[in-house]
Amino acid sequence: MNSSRVRLRVLALSSCIGLLAFSAHAADVEIPILIKDHHFVPSEVSAPAGERIKFVVKNEDSSPSEFESVDFHREKIVQPGHEITVFVGPLKAGTYEFFDDFHPDARGHLAVK
């Protein structure tokens, strides 16, 4: 086999491993949230600035919800009994609102400090 091609493959493979290692290294701040009776529990959460955040949202209701935020532009449907993850940020300091698009009374805030 052509040696330059082998080198190319090794390079491609190692950069893949590098990328994987990078994404594994970037530890995320995990924020678990429950959707219960069409409300977020807890509805006020916080995270440090400059860290990537991983929302883990579980829907304990019998109807679908949509975890959404205009401030950090995310939307994801959460089927009843299911759990979803949503990656956000790293964010700057400030307050970010999130809501359930299907149940507009369900609102919460993420305080980034």
């Binding site: 109807s63 009843p80 299911h82 990656f87």
Partner: protein, 283 residues
């Protein structure tokens, strides 16, 4: 009832604005009604299927199925909008200059209507599946009467369609000689906005980095959830607190489609239709 109305209205509005733009862009194209209707019908059917398998879709690819699906259909729509604009750049002038009615029809017939039809279908697929899930949720939770849900849903659909129709009628006021340029810009902005949304989905799934958050914050000037903010969000990708990857995709889309449009305009089309019409012209 009111909650149903508002949620359904928001979703229908998004799809209806997209279809409104497509209808303006295809003004005067023979058979466009059938194309658009077929796209919309396919979109509604697709929405029901997507809603029915939402749980399965979400759990695909280690939980990133929803994001990949949304980003995929959005980028497909971006490609179709771009292809339409590039095609129009290549043939638009001919369309305007070709005096013969038959020449115009030959050209108009080869216009990539399937591209815009698909864009309508994708808009209805995305928004429609949310409406289906939302309405299904109301039935399951039983926190609204069936009559209230149907009435709220119907009013929401009508209100959403009304805004789309108003946009369409408003844009029809653009004089024919500016219409080509104006719709090219509208479609370009629509494509850039969709690309930016698609990028946000990939960032949500941790496939793309966010490249900085809240590059600016104009939410105090124009809130994204306000009526005007939401319309601008759909039509031109307005984002009050954009993240870097969204801006990169937005500008990248403008640049790539814009460059191809320019190139298409520069070179004379090779596949121009024959000058002598197949059927003798009536004098």
């Amino acid at each position: 009832m009111l909650a149903t109305l508002i949620v359904v209205f928001r979703e229908v509005l998004e799809a209806s604005l997209v279809v409104g733009i497509v209808m303006v862009a295809t003004r005067g194209v023979p058979g466009r009604g059938r194309w658009i209707l077929a796209g919309c019908a396919a979109g509604v059917l697709g929405a029901i299927v997507v809603a029915a398998f939402a749980g399965e879709l979400a759990s695909l690819v280690q939980g990133a199925g929803q994001e990949l699906f949304n980003a995929g259909v959005l980028f497909a729509a971006v490609a179709m909008l771009g292809w339409h604009n590039i095609w129009m750049s290549r043939h638009g002038r001919e369309l305007a200059l070709d005096a013969s009615r038959i020449g115009k029809e030959v050209l108009a017939g080869s216009r990539p209507m399937y591209a815009l039809s698909l864009v309508c279908g994708i808009a209805l697929l995305r928004e429609g599946s949310e409406v289906v899930l939302f309405l299904y949720g109301i039935v399951v939770a039983g926190d609204s009467t069936l009559g209230g849900m149907v009435l709220g849903g119907a009013l929401g659909v009508l209100a959403g369609l009304a805004v789309g129709a108003a946009l369409y009628l408003g844009l029809l006021a653009i004089p024919m000689r500016y219409l080509f340029g104006a719709t090219s810009i509208l479609i370009l902005l629509l494509a850039a906005g969709m690309a930016s949304q698609g990028a946000a989905f990939l960032a949500a799934a941790n496939i793309l980095p966010s490249l900085g958050d809240s590059l600016w914050d104009t939410s105090s000037i124009l809130a994204e959830r306000s009526m005007a903010g939401q319309m601008l969000h759909v039509l031109a990708g307005y984002t009050a607190r954009p993240e870097g990857i969204q801006l990169a995709f937005y500008l990248g889309t403008l640049l790539i489609i814009g460059t191809f449009m320019r190139l298409a305009r520069a070179e004379p089309p090779a596949d121009r239709p024959t000058r002598t019409p197949a059927v003798p012209e009536v004098r």
